[in-house]
């Protein structure tokens, strides 16, 4: 069974997107209540994450960044362990040493997460080199944003991946925001996919708010990387509807642009389409939302009950 066939039920994709949204809203609420540290959310970008991750196989390795909740949850991460990590607790994926910004989960194939913008791009060729030289079948998927595309590491990474024939699916989530700066103030081109062609790397741009379109595009792109053992760049055209880092009043945001993107909310678009097609009843949609809310409530309870690491463990795992 190919990954696309496995994930073809769009209700599964909707449920994952709902879970990501509910998880991040719980963090925002916890942050406002002073119970959870602030974080970088991916609200509005759920389809871009879910569509790509569902196009992958279990052998594939994922590099992500500080906006990682979608990638991790779509990959099957336990929301309780994620929340525990965000809250600095022992049961987090990294034992509370990461917090929200650089969560790795090796058991899920989410490796070497760095919050330094562009670091995921500098690390990806080496991960792909391991896959190739150690005879592993899985490809490497590297999630980055339009901000990282303005780092030198992006261009160095593409050059080396093309030169060394490395099986990397570069996925740029072009969310229009580079921290507090709109991409048009910081990037010479509108589309990151345009930067791939000079390196001889095929690329395309897909509507990142349409989860089905992302799944189809990512499945095709991943298949091309698998077959060619060469890189490909997929740009998901999406929008960060919340601020850079919670809390953030977004006073710097063009509200008309934001409203236009909110009207294309990926979760509402997916749900409405399923309901209109008769694949999902209103009652079933409500049940799905309730199920997800229950999972997040349990996850939050789990995280809050998890102990903090002991201060005596401060210097564990500095050296191997």
């Amino acid at each position: 069974m190919t990954p696309a066939q496995h994930a073809i039920d769009p209700r599964h994709l909707l449920e994952q997107m709902l879970l990501i949204r509910a998880y991040e809203e719980a963090i925002v609420a916890g942050s406002e209540a002073g119970k959870v540290p602030g974080t970088c959310t991916s609200v509005g970008q759920e389809a871009a994450a879910v569509g790509v991750v569902n196009a992958l196989t279990a052998d594939d390795l994922i590099l992500t960044n500080h906006r990682s909740a979608g990638h991790l949850l779509a990959r099957g991460a336990n929301p309780g362990r994620l929340l525990a990590e965000v809250m600095g607790r022992s049961d987090g994926y990294c034992g509370g040493r990461s917090g929200s910004l650089h969560i790795s989960a090796k058991e899920l194939g989410v490796v070497l997460t760095s919050t330094i913008v562009g670091a995921e791009l500098s690390l990806a060729p080496g991960v792909a080199l391991s896959q190739t030289m150690l005879g592993r079948q899985g490809i490497v998927v590297c999630f980055f944003g339009d901000g990282a595309a303005c780092e030198g590491s992006f261009h160095e990474s593409l050059n080396l991946a093309a030169l060394w024939n490395l099986p990397i699916l570069y996925v740029c989530e072009n969310n229009h925001w580079q921290a507090f700066v709109h991409r048009r103030e910081a990037m010479s081109r509108e589309h990151v996919s345009a930067f791939a062609q000079p390196y001889g790397i095929p690329s395309s741009t897909v509507d990142g708010n349409d989860v089905s379109a992302v799944l189809i595009a990512a499945t095709a792109a991943a298949a091309q990387v698998r077959a060619s053992r060469r890189p490909y760049l997929l740009e998901t055209w999406t929008y960060r509807t919340r601020g850079h880092f919670e809390p953030d009043d977004q006073a710097y945001v063009d509200q008309a642009e934001r409203e236009a993107w909110l009207a294309r909310d990926p979760i509402a678009m997916c749900r409405d389409r399923l309901v209109a097609a008769g694949s999902l009843s209103e009652a079933a949609a409500a049940a799905l939302a309730a199920k997800v809310a229950d999972r997040i409530a349990s996850a939050l309870a789990f995280a809050e009950a998890s102990p903090y690491p002991a201060p005596s463990a401060l210097t564990e795992n500095v050296y191997a």
Binding site: C94, S104, I116, A320
Partner: protein
């Protein structure tokens, strides 16, 4: 024992370790060109030239080390490490810790530095202390071909990222290297000369200046003990403290800038743990807070020389300090 240069000792270590472990690979700026014998034996997949782009070389090595390979990278000159700081400091040094120990990074970074070729400040800058100050990294700088081979073999077998500095002035100096397997453990200093009056601690080329100074001092009736640190992290504190406990006098010597250099750390270590054994103040001899000039006399003036070391040690041994 056969004699070989430090440059060839590095090559010998690479050959032995690549035979020893198929996960070891080398890449960097011209390494496949300069060490073509490695390409012939191990093939173009395990010995690769790279773009002159230190960030992606280091990042690729960190990514590979974190997922199963054991890369050795050549970034040529130590000042070029500035382009690779994020990858080495933020990724190699931190991703193990902040992932809760999910990954390890068996990775060796080679970089040359030091006086000898008149290459000037952007090719010669002894930056080794920067990496001592960065958690998760080990730092090595050998003073002779035998140690270069033995320490590099140990560094390649180590599961941590190791910064391996090569002293330009020593690169083509021959030295005896025992044939066959010899792994020099990281974090173990070598006592190269024993003496009871004053301890001279150094690493890299200034170890030889200390040995010359010890000869001068011996002619004056002063017995100097010379310690070659070999590894800057882990630092062999026990060997330093044992020597100072014996001599009561310490001169720390290095080519790197004195300000916040390794010598400052060693002086503080001795002040904290052996103050009562000191018969005289600790002296640090190091480079000035200045970039290195290309001009030969200025390049030499940057480096603590044997005469200055002997004079400093002799002053510590005068009766007013007894």
């Amino acid at each position: 024992m056969p004699a070989m240069t430090l440059y060839d000792a590095v090559g010998a270590a690479l050959v032995e370790e690549m035979r020893h472990d198929p996960r070891v690979l080398v890449f960097g700026e011209g390494i496949a060109t300069k060490r073509h014998d490695l390409v012939q034996e191990f093939g173009a997949l395990r010995v690769r030239n790279t773009p002159l782009a230190e960030g992606i070389i280091a990042g690729t090595a960190v990514g590979a080390a974190g997922t199963g390979l054991r890369p050795v990278i050549d970034l040529l000159f130590a000042p070029f490490l500035c382009y690779a700081m994020d990858e080495l400091v933020n990724s190699a040094g931190k991703l193990r810790y902040i992932s809760g120990g999910q990954f390890s990074f068996p990775l060796v970074t080679l970089a040359m530095t030091g006086a000898g070729w008149g290459v000037g400040a952007q090719h010669n800058h002894n930056v080794e202390a920067w990496f001592v100050h960065s958690p998760g990294l080990k730092v090595v700088m050998p003073s002779n071909p035998a140690d270069a081979k033995g320490l590099l073999k140990a560094a390649i077998r180590d599961d941590n990222p190791v910064m391996f500095f090569l002293d330009i002035g020593l690169l083509y100096q021959p030295g005896e290297v025992a044939a066959g397997e010899h792994v020099a453990p990281l974090g173990k200093a070598a006592v190269l000369r024993e003496g009871g009056d004053v301890t001279l601690v150094s690493y890299g080329k200034t170890v030889h200046h200390c040995l010359q100074a010890a000869e001068t001092l011996a002619a004056q009736g002063i017995a100097a003990e010379v310690i070659d640190l070999r590894s800057l992290k882990p630092l062999d504190e026990a060997t330093i403290l044992a020597s100072v406990a014996k001599t009561g006098r310490l001169v720390v010597v290095h080519e790197a800038n004195r300000l916040c250099g390794i010598g400052a750390e060693i002086a503080a270590l001795v002040a904290e743990q052996a103050f009562a054994r000191l018969k005289a103040p600790v002296v640090r001899l190091g480079g000035p807070d200045a970039p290195v000039a290309a001009s030969y006399p200025l390049e030499q003036a940057f480096v603590p020389q044997a005469e200055a070391i002997a004079a400093a040690a002799e002053r510590l041994c005068r009766p007013q300090h007894a």
